[in-house]
Subunit: 306 residues, 4 copies
């Protein structure tokens, strides 16, 4: 409830304070590698599987982005090395998944703060041969959890949020109320901004300049609810952040302080429509990152099962 | 039952006959893109989700193979582009997923036979800009099905099959019996040979020369059981095939005639152990290929959920 | 002399006529692979070497372009795989040299016209395994020739030509006169537009929309002078071409009809200054493309020696 | 002359002593970036150009090695992205030039010794964004010098040296005598072992185990003669080195102590034959590395001009 909340973070000092107040360091053990994904227990997986009622599946990934554009300065390479002429079909892909274009999950080794990674690991753990801690292959057995879609634009009767529009906890809770559910411990939360619908309608723009997303004020809320992972069709962070000195405070506090994995650049239009058709915003969600030893991220295709 | 079976295919003519007798062309519609994955219905997904009882998850993928070796002439590239020195963790991967090293799923456009793809599509559909039909992104909403592991070496009290050792339907049925289950329509079947356990113990060998796997005689059995997809820690095919003129008859008949997707080079040691510990060889299985437009394959990490 | 010239090509029909009138097909033999580079004879190489008087060398290449930009939608990848941390220095590069950013030389197999390559080869010679004729490795023994710089902006007392500004034969001849030389058979001609000086001063622009360069009217002049190869800091062609239906007529007529190799996106600022300081616009020029079997182009670093 | 020579280096201590005795640090200035390439003066370039007499040119590069093999664990990628089907010819290449397969030139930042690079630079200069000193783009204006081929196998009436066979100064001088010349300051010296002829005849082998080349005893000779750069069809070093604790002493002493650039994996069969036909082993030699900012090496195609 809005009136009981702490004042919104307005400065970088406020963000630095969140690194302390929201910290999950040592909560899951001194050598923990999974952060809030530890909250996805076997019991919660069983409960998530029971959410399957219609058997409908929906992808939450964009196609690998091969076309250049303001959000895609380093396009994914996709070369056909086998075609009709060769007598077989074969291809080659090359990508650096971070950024504003590829649907991917960040490992906890992706972001540094004040010389450390989540859980106090030294940044030196991120070597040229891969990350020795908090790498993406810690997630090799997948994430199988209750997925929840919060859909502020749909709730507001809009097709999308405007680039740069910030979401605050009250917006998330309004979307919860509309969805008749409550986000809780061990959930994987997806927040839709309608980014790709806007792009399809009006063309691309430079997301490093403006992008709808969560204001840093949502961080305490994410911690209270003990969300296991957070994803968006944007990068979760609103851009600009509104906080001088902190460019992506949600990324930094979530990943480094909270050990909360982020999923960026997802495709949520199909999921939004499926939720409307299925009449519910919760589903079994499966994340299956590639097993990249020492990796800092993986492209992935989250699958929602209703 | 072995005594009622047709004689084993022994020649390329026999294999060509299987292209006719096992054909699923037009079975799922003239413009079908999914082949036997059509057998994974919403009802079957719901039933598969009900197989979740302990909440344990197991990966069925090898790490992306970056080390050269006889089975890996074109290693996956993995470059760290962000490390401690850069102030963030980031990486780049490049791979051509086909072959004998990367855990991947073949699209139906991967294999040609007699100038056609599955369902009669012209090979010209596989263009230099991607495949216009039967591409891997037809699977974008994932595969959520009952997974079954048949584990002949474990059943025989062995750690692995010898490279070049062939499995016949009676071997699959013996493994079924031991697992107290029956493979049926819409199942995703994984067959373990113990390949990576052997490699860990005795070192690599050239799999293009010899590899344990299914003899072409298994093809009618796969068709009878209406398996939705087939995977192995090998490439399903036994190498050598034992059939002159047909190098990989399981690949060719399954993909082109039956529209049966194959998953190659999986990691099944963990799954084998999990099945033993869980006391059952069936589980919810989720396949989440990357969305690669026009692609002929995707690296992936199949997740089994007990 | 301008008054004796044929009327300027104004239509695509005029350009098609040039394919006939300027054709070098069969001139150098039915199985020729080198086009006008055949004009660089041993005698001409010896004479070119005699142009070395001061011993000064100048590069004519831009650094491999790793930064995205309007002229560079698919940046060159440059990853450091060995650094201080690894105990050695090592790197990886990946590039597709064609386009408007990388300094490269086009092979004669790069451009097709009316179903053929230069010298009547079928386009089918350009296979997925490389070009079977007219590939860049035909130039493996290098090009060692008299190099000439024509520098219209300097001649006009300007820093650069405006994007989209067309050069006609009279402009080339005015630059010849100023340089007190005459372009002749077997020469490698570089024409400067000042493109990179403009970019450094005013920022990048999309060269596919406008770029200074040669109007198609220069093609007969290039043929008369029997130029062996042609390069520019642009792509030789003026953009827009001014000829409806012919986007890059210089590329097409030069490469396909004349067998005249083109070098694109060179760096000519240094060469321009060196010519001014050396007091001459002719020099020994060495082109050393990489030996890429079946390749359609090579990045390269042309070296001028005064 | 052999009898006046210092005893052959036999131990790693001897090699460490060479780092002192052969050092060129500060010889060319405290901020020098070029090492012994400084010895290629304008006068020497003019003299080299005068070596051109017949106008014959010869490549000293192998094709970019795309086939896997014992000497090529990470093959060069070459993908045709434009073919007959696309209406144009285009390609993509990706490579990490170091190693035993690609013809390349090492930058001086490639090798470290005792925490430093050549001329005392800190290894920290080799960053993840490229080398800040001693990078390959210091050679952007090319190397134009007198080239000399010393050809011990031909001199001995053999087709090739055996893998692992060591060359000592007396072998180099015997080859000089046979060539009727003397290697001197500012020369670029190529030493042929016949490696690729052997490979063509008898198949590939693992060069990391055995490779013909120079014994560390050649290092003082290279310093006395003030060679500007050194290349080979091998990697210059004999493998094994014969010196415990020093795997590639020629690489290490040459690059770090002497600032002597090395060129590896050249193709010298054509040059050897050309020298025989031309009746001389000296020629104009042009090296034109790609301009790779901060790079540690460049693939290249050295051109010899007779």
């Amino acid at each position: 409830m809005a009136d009981g909340r702490a004042p919104r973070p307005a400065s970088n000092e406020d963000v630095l304070a969140l690194h302390e107040s929201l910290s999950n360091w040592a909560r899951f053990g001194e050598r923990d590698q999974l952060g809030t994904l530890n909250l996805v227990t076997p019991e919660r997986r069983i409960a998530a599987a029971r959410l399957v009622r219609s058997g409908r599946t929906v992808s939450c990934a964009r196609p690998l982005p091969t076309e250049p554009g303001p959000e895609n300065p380093q396009p994914v390479l996709h070369h056909m090395i086998g075609t009709a002429a060769e007598g077989w079909g074969g291809d080659f892909i090359a990508l650096a998944p971070h950024g504003f274009a590829t649907s991917h999950i960040d490992a906890l080794c992706h972001i540094f703060h004040a010389g450390h990674l989540y859980n106090g690991y030294e940044t030196a753990r991120v070597t040229s041969h891969g990350a020795l801690d908090l790498a993406i292959d810690a997630l090799r057995d997948g994430v199988v959890a209750r997925g929840v879609l919060l859909d502020p634009p749909r709730v507001q009767g809009r097709s999308w949020l405007e680039p740069g529009e910030a979401l605050h906890p009250e917006d998330l809770e309004r979307a919860e109320t509309a969805a008749k559910l409550r986000v809780g411990p061990g959930d994987v939360l997806f927040v839709r901004t309608g980014r790709w619908a806007l792009r399809a309608a009006n063309g691309p723009w430079d997301p490093r300049k403006r992008l709808a997303g969560l204001h840093a004020s949502c961080l305490p809320w994410l911690r209270e609810r003990d969300v296991a992972a957070l994803g968006s069709d944007g990068v979760s962070d609103v851009v600009p952040s509104g906080i001088e000195g902190a460019g992506l405070p949600v990324h930094t506090v979530a990943i480094v302080a909270m050990g909360l994995h982020l999923l960026d650049n997802l495709e949520l239009e199909g999921l939004s429509n499926a939720c409307a058709e299925e009449g519910r915003n919760e589903f079994l969600l499966v994340l299956a990152p590639l097993v990249i030893q020492g990796g800092t991220a993986s492209p992935l295709n989250p699958i929602a099962v209703f």
